[in-house]
């Protein structure tokens, strides 16, 4: 393909994907009246939309809820995922391959099969309207196990055995030898679990009805659809922008990791 044409197409594509976000960011500073107009910049900058958001919903608290949920889920998925991945690659025990096949099977079952029975289980445990109900069902992640296992396979077994001969416990081998050698895989698995959990919205909508325990995507979604925004566009866009911003910043800082990690999840997951 000719170079000038390629650049025109690439720049056109960039505009299509980035311009809506830029427009949205600027629209949150416009007076409500102006949002429907085509001008990019506000004629008069105002924080009215943000004031309305903070006045009507505890969005700061929902941000903290999301943060707590996603941090516990991600660290747990990495910890238990690497324990399982280590057992699958570096320890010989009966039933190991069967166990691994079971995990592969769980990945083939669409979540919609489990949705209702899992919800009724959470109700039975009394975990609705709590962060526990958002955290515990997702503390283990099959994709994380797969990615970590794949990486552990490349670590020479001799190295592990040498450590065993030196009297190293399996725990110490995992945390002081295997982990430092698997930073890329831990990053990949961590990003996949983090993004998936941060953006999850159906499960919180099912399990949490009390504003105090809502996650941020849930709160913003219900603010928009539930009439809290009084069908004003400014506050909805402001809430949405606040929801998107942390991920956008994280993405721009670590874009290479994000892209390769999520591509990995598509290829292996």
């Amino acid at each position: 393909m000719k170079k000038p044409f390629a650049y025109i197409a690439l720049v056109g594509g960039a505009l299509v994907f980035a311009y809506p976000f830029v427009w949205m960011m600027l629209a949150t500073f416009k007076p409500e009246m102006e949002i429907g107009r085509l001008a990019l910049l506000p004629s008069e900058w105002t924080l009215e939309s943000y004031r309305l958001v903070f006045e009507s919903i505890p969005i700061g608290r929902s941000f903290l809820n999301s943060l707590v949920v996603v941090l516990i889920v991600t660290s747990s998925a990495l910890l238990f995922g690497s324990m399982a991945g280590y057992a699958f690659t570096k320890i010989n025990f009966r039933g190991r391959d069967a166990g691994y096949n079971i995990i592969l099977f769980t990945m083939m079952v669409p979540f919609m099969v489990l949705l209702i029975p899992l919800y009724t289980l959470i109700v039975k445990f009394g975990w609705t309207d709590s962060l526990v109900g958002l955290i515990v069902p997702f503390m283990m992640n099959a994709t994380a196990v797969l990615i970590l296992r794949q990486s552990f396979l490349t670590i020479p077994t001799d190295l592990i055995e040498a450590a065993r001969i030196d009297g190293c416990s399996e725990w110490r081998i995992l945390f002081t030898i295997v982990w430092p050698l698997s930073i890329p895989a831990l990053t990949t698995a961590g990003i996949i679990v983090f993004i998936g959990n941060w953006n999850e919205v159906l499960w919180p909508i099912m399990v949490v009805r009390n504003e105090d325990w809502m996650t941020m995507p849930q709160m913003v979604a219900l603010f928009s659809v539930g009439g809290g925004a009084q069908s004003k566009l400014g506050p909805q866009l402001a809430a949405a922008f606040m929801l998107g911003l942390p991920i956008i910043i994280a993405f721009l800082l670590f874009q290479r990791h994000f892209i390769s990690s999520l591509a990995t999840s598509g290829l292996k997951g």
């Binding site: 025990f93 919800y119 069902p137 196990v145 399996e170 892209i259």
Partner: protein
């Protein structure tokens, strides 16, 4: 592939190691460290499988029980035999949701493949600034679907929306994006493509970069035109990735929830009612837990069949 290197020799080596230790008279502590691994395998994988049994195994079995019951989660379950299934087979909305998903996929998948291939091909040329473009295209992928849906609620609005604003400024007629039953699902498919296509650009780019240059050289020496090189070399070698993309998009299409939930509530006239939205409504508006579970299983079976057919079809089609 699942066997680590040296599966058998390892046990033999372990034996010789313990023999060595016995000869050296090493303490019991390190003997434990050598013979323990087998037991530690269970210790290390136990938390995962305990969790799996409780939050995967149990719900899976319970789903199969729920199918035969009527249950509003408050009063006791009532066994109703196959009534949920017979009801499902006569449920117009169930078939509506399947047709809607099919309609969504028919627009979304080809559009996504064409756009993603186009940009992947551009980015595969060693142009300056390609990592910048890659980043920009990927941006909507990482952002929550809630953000994208709220953004498009404005962009798609009939009177005040940005897109119609541009169209009418250029002298065109306003498009009833989300308000007409004919346009609502295509609009959502368009939005989903905008959100996801960056992901598939990367997948195709990976696929393109895995094609060895020598293949193109051979095609060049054979005197193939650009188009022939594309259809004879690129596409066949990209086939595995194409299958992956089609399958992932299909699963994604069946997981459509937050977009119709936020933008249309499944309307107008059920034209954007998705599988998950219908399950959600049955469970949480009507408290039909048994029926919702039956719907979940049926939609999953449909995904399974569709994906199997796609694998077959796509594989045969290209070769």
């Amino acid at each position: 592939m699942s066997e680590p290197v040296g599966h058998r020799p390892q046990t033999r080596r372990e034996k010789s190691i313990s023999a060595l230790k016995r000869a050296l008279g090493t303490s019991g502590g390190s003997r434990r460290a050598v013979s323990d691994p087998g037991r530690m395998g269970y210790v290390f994988s136990a938390p995962y499988f305990f969790h799996l049994a409780l939050f995967f195994g149990y719900p899976l079995l319970f789903a199969l029980i729920l199918v035969f019951h009527r249950w509003d989660i408050v009063t006791p379950m009532e066994f109703i035999g196959l009534r949920n299934i017979s009801r499902l087979l006569q449920d117009d909305l169930f078939f509506r949701a399947i047709r809607n998903t099919g309609f969504f996929l028919v627009i979304h998948i080809p559009l996504q493949i064409i756009v993603a291939l186009f940009f992947a091909e551009l980015l595969n040329a060693k142009l300056k600034g390609r990592s910048f473009f890659r980043t920009v295209y990927f941006l909507p992928v990482v952002v929550s679907g809630v953000v994208v849906a709220i953004l498009f609620q404005q962009l798609f609005a009939f009177e005040t929306g940005y897109i119609n604003g541009v169209i009418s400024a250029l002298g065109g007629d306003r498009v009833p994006w989300l308000v007409s039953p004919a346009w609502a699902m295509p609009s959502i498919a368009l939005m989903a493509t905008w959100k996801n296509v960056g992901f598939y650009v990367i997948l195709f780019l990976t696929g393109l970069q895995n094609i060895p240059d020598s293949m193109y050289e051979v095609a060049y020496l054979e005197g193939a035109t650009t188009w022939q090189r594309w259809t004879q070399v690129t596409l066949p070698l990209l086939n595995p990735m194409l299958v992956t993309v089609v399958v992932l998009s299909t699963i994604g299409g069946f997981s459509l929830f937050i977009e119709p939930y936020l933008l249309t509530g499944g309307g107008p006239l059920s034209s954007t009612l998705s599988a998950l939205l219908y399950i959600y409504n049955q469970a949480f508006y009507f408290n039909h837990m048994g029926y919702a579970a039956a719907l979940g299983i049926f939609f999953a079976l449909i995904i399974f069949v569709v994906v199997l057919l796609q694998r077959r079809f796509v594989e045969e089609d290209i070769y």
